[in-house]
Structures are given as C-alpha cells and as structure tokens.
C-alpha cells in the first residue's frame, strides 16, 4: 500500500510533476478547440459546396470528404507534420490543430449537410417564391432551422475530438499523453501515469457531455414556445 502511495507521489508531486499534467490537459483542450473552429469553417464550406449547383465544387468537396474519411487520422497527422509543414518550423500544437481541423472538417461537412437537408424543401420554395436569392434563403431561413439538428451532433464531434487528439503524441509530448510519457521516462512506472490520464480524460469528457446535454435540453425547451 505504501508502495502504491509512493508511486502516486512520484507521478504527481516529485519535481512538481502535476504541472506537466495541467499543461498537457491545457494543450489537449487548446488543440481540440482550434481544431473544432477550423473544422467548422471547413465543414460549412464543404457542405455548401457539396449542395451547390456547380459540378466542380461538388466534386472537390466530394473528393475531400471521401479521402479524409477514408484514411486514418494518425496518417494524416504524420503527413502534415513530416511532409507538408516539415519545411517550416511550427509549434506542435498548431500542427495538431491544423491536422485535426482538416480531419474534423470532413465529418462536420456531413453533419452540416445532413442538417441542411433535414429542413423541409417547402421552406426553400417559400423563400425563393418571395423573391429572395438562394444565399438569402440559406442564411435567413434554412440555416437557423438546420442549426437545431447541427448543434447536438457538433457537440458530439467536440467530445470525439478530445479523445482523438491523444494521437498528437506521435509528433510531440505536449499533450496529456505526453505528460504521462514524461513521467514514465523518469519513474519507469506505467500503471499510475496511464491510469491517471485515463481518469482525467474520463472526467473532462463527462463534464463536457453533461454541459452539452443541458444546452440541448435548453434549446428544446425554447423550441416549445
């Protein structure tokens, strides 16, 4: 028992190693946040292209979504780190954000597309019959209604990304997984650091899921005016 307490002390207290976990969690959340923002921008753009009348735009977004969803996230991260961004010196968290943003963009594109398609076609017809352009109809009529279906799925994507960013350990030690590895390097103890980050991931994801559920229920209530 004493031995186990010692291992915990070695993992967190000695040398102030708990700082590594705090900073690791910070980077995990930072990468996730930027990836979601970038993913949303790419996702909305790709979804609109996918639904556009232009064959070329449809093809471009189709290929993008297909390729990104058809290859492993880790391979994408490695290609961006060691091939595309290799010539310039960029901090690892930015590389991670870009890689996961590009990856997430493909999934968010499908979420957004589904949300837009879920709005009754009569809404578009009503808008267009009043003389509104397709862009005006999309902005003022379709998107506000599509958001109701998009937001819950987007929250889910956020949670998935938190877990997925653990892969960033392939290129650097900055995130939560990196913190556990740094401790291992000093103590040769695998059990405690790995169990610790598992608990940290679980708690963070639980809290965020609960918050998202709250938000969703709030939205549903507002809907029942």
């Amino acid at each position: 028992m004493n031995d186990f307490i010692n291992r915990i002390m070695d993992t967190f207290v000695t040398e102030g190693r708990w700082n590594w976990f705090v900073s690791g969690l910070g980077y995990t959340m930072l990468i996730t946040l930027f990836a979601v923002i970038l993913g949303c921008i790419i996702g909305v753009l790709m979804a609109l292209m996918r639904l556009s009348k232009s064959k070329i735009l449809r093809a471009v977004s189709g290929v993008y979504i297909d390729v990104i969803r058809g290859t492993p996230t880790m391979v994408q991260l490695l290609i961006i780190n060691f091939v595309i961004l290799a010539p310039i010196n960029v901090p690892a968290w930015i590389i991670g954000s870009v890689a996961f943003g590009i990856n997430s963009g493909a999934y968010i594109a499908e979420i957004v597309r589904g949300g837009i398609l879920s709005v009754n076609v009569g809404q578009t017809e009503a808008g267009r019959s009043l003389g509104m352009t397709s862009a005006q109809t999309m902005r003022s009529i379709i998107m506000p209604q599509a958001m109701k279906n998009i937001l819950p799925a987007l929250g889910n994507e956020f949670v998935v990304l938190i877990k997925e960013t653990a892969v960033v350990g392939m290129i650097s030690n900055i995130d939560l997984v990196g913190a556990a590895r740094k401790v291992q390097g000093r103590t040769y103890d695998y059990l405690v650091p790995l169990l610790s980050i598992a608990v940290i991931y679980y708690v963070v994801i639980k809290i965020i899921s609960l918050l998202l559920n709250r938000l969703e229920q709030g939205m549903r209530k507002a809907d029942k005016r």
Partner: protein, 240 residues
C-alpha cells in the same frame, strides 16, 4: 399578363405537362381544376419557375421568364405564392415572417415593413397574432398569415396551390373568404383547387386539366353546367 406557349415539363421519363397554351389577362381569376396527377400544380409551379419547364415559353408582363438570362428573383417579387402546406417559417414570429422578404429583398426599412405587416394582418383578421409563432396557430390561421406574407411583397399576381387542401373542413371557409376579398379587390389570381363552390363563385374562368393538357375551359357557368369534354363530364359527375 401571363402568356404561356407550348409549355412542357418532364420529370425524368414522366411527362407531366404535354403542351400548355394559355393566356391570362390582368384582373382575371383563373381557377384550375382536375384530378390528382393531372399536372395542375406543376403548371402553377412553372409560372414562377419553382419547376423549370422542359420546353416552351412563359411571358410575365411581357418578360420572357424561361430565358436563362432573366433575373428570376425580380420576376418572383411580382408573383406571390401560397402553398398547400403553408410553409411559414417556424423559427420566426408571425410579424417577422411577413417582414423578412420586404426587408431583405426590397430593402424596406423595418418600421415601414412592420406598419405594412400590421395592415395586412388586419386584412386577414389576425392583428392580434403578430407576436405569435406559427406552431401556436391553427391551420386556417397559418394559411391566412401565408397569404399576408405573400401580399407583403405587393405582387401583381397571386398563385394559390391547393390552399385549402391541408385544412380541417371548418377552417376552409375563413381562408376562402380572405381569397374572395382579394379577388374583389381586383388581384390577378391563378388558383389550383378542389373547392368547386369557390371556383363557381369567384372564378372568372375555369380550366379543366387532365393528363398534362388543358382539356376544357370557359366561364364557371359553361364548364360546370354544360361541359363539352367527356373527361370533364366524368370528373364533374364524380365530385359535384
């Protein structure tokens, strides 16, 4: 005002309109009747290009709308449309439903658009519902709002696509009354409907469509009391 020549429309292999020639004058109230699948809704939806005709020419106030170079949005401003399923915007209040297009398309200032909305709501008898949301209203009320919304763009022509078909029977009357008032005020109207009473009372001309053609037309008196075409006779005998 509306001149249709050789209008054809196919959906894939299915030819729904097989050649329509029709001339509608200003102030006319044209009622289109016929069995389901006869193409009457498609004909109406071609008039404001919600369906793109496969062949033929449509002139609205002298402008050829089937010409790809025509600005479709400008044409649609002149033509209000009322749908079977109302298609009100559920995320907007009644007032915002009515003011949205005038503000976005015609750039009318908010106050002016709202004043007009209140007038229109009074006209359809729903002045107290300005701040309600569509889901709080009955079908008949929603359809009257939809009419007000279309009128807010000050259209020259109003198109009605089975405006009472989705309503409970007791609500049909209030919608038809609003349409009748509109007709009395001189609006040019094209109405696809199964309400033969309305066709008789309000219509200045009745078109009978079946199989993608206009088979017979005339005043309500002529078509209802003395139909010439066998198909018209058969249809009317079933529903009257």
């Amino acid at each position: 005002m509306i001149k249709v020549t050789g209008l054809k429309k196919s959906f894939g292999d299915l030819e729904v309109l097989k050649g329509i020639d029709e001339h509608i004058e200003k102030g006319e109230k044209v009622v289109v009747i016929g069995p389901s699948g006869s193409g009457k809704s498609t004909f109406l939806r071609c008039l404001n290009l919600l369906e793109i005709p496969t062949e033929g020419e449509i002139l609205i106030e002298g402008e050829c709308i089937t010409d790809p170079k025509t600005n479709v949005n400008k044409i649609r401003e002149k033509m209000g449309m009322v749908f079977q399923q109302f298609n009100l915007f559920p995320h907007l209040s009644v007032k915002d439903n009515i003011t949205l297009a005038p503000m976005k398309v015609k750039k009318i200032p908010k106050e002016e658009a709202e004043t007009r909305a209140v007038e229109l709501l009074e006209m359809v008898g729903l002045a107290d519902k300005a701040d309600s949301y569509p889901a709080q209203l009955s079908g008949g009320q929603q359809q009257r709002i939809a009419i007000a919304r279309a009128l807010a763009m000050d259209p020259d022509i109003m198109l009605f696509d089975e405006p009472t078909s989705a309503l409970d029977p007791e609500m049909v009357g209030e919608v038809l009354q609003v349409m009748k008032n509109l007709a009395d005020a001189g609006m040019t109207m094209v109405v696809v409907t199964h309400e033969m009473g309305f066709a008789r009372e309000v219509g200045s001309r009745v078109l009978f469509m079946d199989g993608g053609y206009i088979l017979e037309q005339g005043t309500p008196e002529e078509v209802f009391s003395d139909p010439k075409n066998d198909r018209t006779k058969e249809f009317l005998s079933k529903i009257l």
